[in-house]
Symmetry: C3
Subunit: 272 residues, 3 copies
């Protein structure tokens, strides 16, 4: 276990939704999501996430990041639906650019990245995990993961899809996306969506062991290799970021989409 | 089991090669190939197929189609070789456009599509199955499936290949296409060419259960997701349809190709 | 077993680093690497390799080639590091063009190609195997194979990567390349990097049996199919060969890269 030097985060980028710990001796940081009840990716969360990650990216003492959750049973519930419901087009645009920013930063990170998935991880939560170099999930079959957007009547954007295809291949992605599947941990492992399952009490230890394996390589070679593998997909959004934002705004503003998101939110409220 | 409302097909598009049943309560149609002895994809068959599918596509009561065979032991034997042998270039062109049309319509269908493969399915028969959203095959190891064109001395066009790669991945496709492999059902399942094997008596029940699963999703989200996954491959033929037709005509008209198709037809005749 | 007609190689292209045997009755040639101690791909080896392969390619009696090693425990150790260390930029350019030539010739060969991997096969050695139509490896877990360039602080070029992705898929390639993994034979089989494992004494027999299977197809159809599968990746290097060469020269000439290659060579010397 790392000695766990707790960063005193600068006020500017922290509102306590994410706890960042950097072990300078190993060069490994942990970003712990602690935004109860479900670590939803709100605009505030995304902004804090990007600022924290950028800081680590620039910190020479940091070579790898582990993403995990401080909230029991949930890794992240994905994009915050309240940000997409009944808001102005300006707000939708601002929110979407923050989602893009998160994806560009994690998928394109020059650090080694490991997702230590200690709870369910639907939609945008799954995306964060997909962007990492390696995914370890708690073997509890009650925890599930997947890009289930279609279940909500919405469509994952092409860069969610590209990231997913790069991990599980075209066929598995096509079926899973069309059905909006949430895969229980054992199934997620079987289809290659996560690389490894471990008991909950072994998760942190395993994540550090995997990270050590990735950091055993020379940074320069590892980074160039990673960039070579992901460049085409990263460039694709890079080249049409504003167009993608306009598409999102236009899609999410549609009456039937707003209606089905509202219904979904009502359903979630009743569940509580 | 669906109540099975038998459509009274308009004379214009039915000559009884395909039996279309639509269960309006579930929104599920079944297209049963009944063109003995082997459901070969003749020009007439293809025209009827496209007209029937187009009619279903426009029918608001229809949300999904199951493709299956009314001929024992064979799903479809693929493109009718007699259409490619000793005919005029005009005929070859007409035939090839019909093959393209079938592919464009099934692979690009906005309906959910399930192949209930109750017999062998070589070449073009395999293609029909590959275009579906899900493939269920009778577990009989005597039934085989594959793009075996190379065995006949011909080459599957790029869009057959693209569809195949999207299902089984590049490596499996490369090997299978070069060897012109016909995979027995268990092997087809192992390599991901079919999604599931069932006993023959369970096939229809299973196909309906799978279809219900796909239709549980909102049509709009499912359709947009499907289109996102398939657009690149669909557009590729769309952009060069006429060029592809001319390539086919020029290839199939070659003396050695005609000769090897003739030999293959003679061999088939002797088998009978 | 082939009667093994030993070619009397023309002086111009043989310096005995590769033994070429052609069995005219079966149309199958064997290229045996015999450049002790580790069959490293030196400029001389590559030139002889390309000349030998070109000769077979033009020989109508030859329809398939089996690549294997005459050196115990090693298939090929990959690119000769001495060619990349402390030499002139002219030399680097000449060497890299020879590496490209080898890849273009094997990956684009119109003959059927089988790798009979009877020893370890890191980096460039793995690339030779990846270029073949089929890979059989001795089941000894002490033999390993992989594109481990990152371990040496260097980066596999994009066409190594493209070839790898075409065999094992994007996800496996991304992880393996970033970690610079050398996969023991059983693991290499599990991830699809080799198609089959056999006991060492069965290797030649198996390679001939597999080759017979590939040669059972009409050459013309098999060749066009292979070309269709590989054209995009082959054309990509074809279109930027000189640019890729300049990239290599610039990268390999860098001080830190030269330093890490030097250290690696010293380490290898001490091992002896």
């Amino acid at each position: 276990q790392p000695s766990g030097l707790l960063l005193t985060p600068r006020r500017a980028f922290s509102n306590n939704k994410i706890l960042v710990e950097l072990d300078k001796s190993s060069g490994v940081a942990t970003m712990k999501f602690k935004s109860p009840p479900v670590n939803s990716l709100s605009l505030d969360f995304l902004n804090e996430f990007c600022t924290s990650l950028e800081k680590l990216e620039k910190d020479r003492a940091c070579r790898g990041v582990i993403f995990t959750s401080a909230v029991p049973k949930i890794f992240s519930s994905g994009l915050d639906i309240t940000e997409m419901c009944g808001k102005s087009t300006e707000h939708y645009g601002q929110f979407w650019r923050a989602v893009q920013e998160m994806w560009l930063r994690v998928y394109g990170s020059s650090m080694a990245t490991v997702a230590a998935i200690n709870g369910s991880s639907p939609a945008g939560g799954c995306l964060v995990a997909l962007c990492c170099d390696y995914r370890i999930m708690v073997e509890n079959p009650k925890f599930s993961i997947g890009l289930n957007e279609a279940q909500l009547g919405i469509v994952a954007p092409f860069w969610f899809k590209d990231t997913f295809v790069n991990v599980v291949g075209h066929r598995v992605a096509e079926r899973s996306l069309q059905l909006g599947s949430l895969h229980p941990a054992p199934e997620a492992h079987r289809i290659g969506l996560v690389d490894e399952l471990v008991p909950e009490e072994k998760l942190q230890e395993k994540a550090l062991a995997v990270m050590a394996q990735w950091l055993a390589l020379p940074d320069h070679a590892r980074q160039l290799t990673k960039s070579m593998m992901r460049k085409a997909v990263l460039d694709r959004l890079g080249a049409q970021r504003e167009e993608d934002t306009q598409n999102f705004i236009s899609f999410i503003s549609k009456e039937p989409i707003q209606k089905s998101l509202h219904m979904y939110m009502e359903m979630l409220k009743k569940k509580k």
